[in-house]
């Protein structure tokens, strides 16, 4: 069973690997808004899952509307960069290039990869929240990330 110290270290490792945007978000959280990060991240999950779904549907059409696909990817790029999900964001950049070239194959491959990257980041974020809970339950305090 992990000690509080070990949990805290894991928490710091995960948080810092999520890039500074996520850490910036954590700084905006305080006693008056203790669930801010959780709320933003939940919105991100909701938003992303909808976008990924829309992308899958759009790419399955007989005649693919690449402009529409691009619009979805653009949105996803925005929200992932706000959260600090850089790998997802970078995939979105590549995805948009394929949209511009109207390269269906490229787009489908990107979609697959984005789904994968999204799962990784979702996992990571869920771990951060889980660690927070565990630390608090074990009577520890959440470390402040510089």
């Amino acid at each position: 069973m992990a000690t509080v110290g070990q949990l805290q270290k894991q928490f710091v490792d995960f948080s810092t690997s999520l890039y500074r945007e996520f850490i910036q978000l954590q700084k905006l959280q305080d006693e008056s808004n203790p669930d801010f990060v959780f709320e933003v991240v939940s919105l991100f999950f909701e938003d992303s899952e909808k976008l990924l779904n829309n992308l899958a549907i759009a790419l399955q059409q007989q005649v693919v509307d690449f402009k529409q696909v691009d619009a979805h990817v653009h949105q996803f790029k925005g929200s992932s960069s706000s959260i600090g999900a850089h790998r997802v964001k970078n995939m979105c950049v590549a995805f948009r290039n394929f949209c511009e070239e109207k390269n269906l194959d490229g787009c489908l491959r990107c979609l697959q990869q984005i789904n994968h990257e999204y799962c990784l980041v979702k996992n990571k974020l869920e771990n951060v929240f889980r660690l927070e809970r565990q630390i608090l339950e074990a009577g520890g305090t959440i470390p402040l990330i510089a």
Binding site: V40, L43, F44, S82
Partner: protein, 188 residues
Amino acid sequence: MAVEEILHVLAVDDSLVDRKVIERLLKVSCCKVTAVESGRRALQYLGLDGETSSVNFDQELKVNLIMTDYSMPGMTGYELLKKIKGSSKLREIPVVVMSSENILARIDRCLEEGAEEFLMKPVKLSDVERLRDFVLKGDEDKNEGEVLATTRKRKNRSDESRPLILQSSEPSPHQSLPKRPRLIATVD
């Protein structure tokens, strides 16, 4: 009327996530926020959509700063900016455009159209605090001008396009902002 001024900022962004974040950034900076999801809604709120007449009876509704995302479906931030600067009623309100894309032509276009600044997303707390201070200082100067009582002075101020960095004679740590804001976001 010497009321403690709390800035009222209208934030316009089609992304739910970004709206939530900008709202929080503004609240942490002690601003009152109204967040809307589109240019159209923003114009409605400002009473400029031609359908509703301006409902600004309540001084509290007065908007001191508009922060808008650039890429939005329907009406872009640029189009919203043009409408605001094209309105005699609203053109005094500083407008800041935000974007996650660092496109020079886009930035130029916005600044030429009268945007106070073009911010790279994700927007940082220090950006918001700087804007808040800029707007507060602007209002302070305006009030002083009124006390000195020349309408002409006020008219001249509103005719000038205000550079982002001011008129302030004291150096500040963020000083060297030229009229063109930094174009590269400091994220690696």
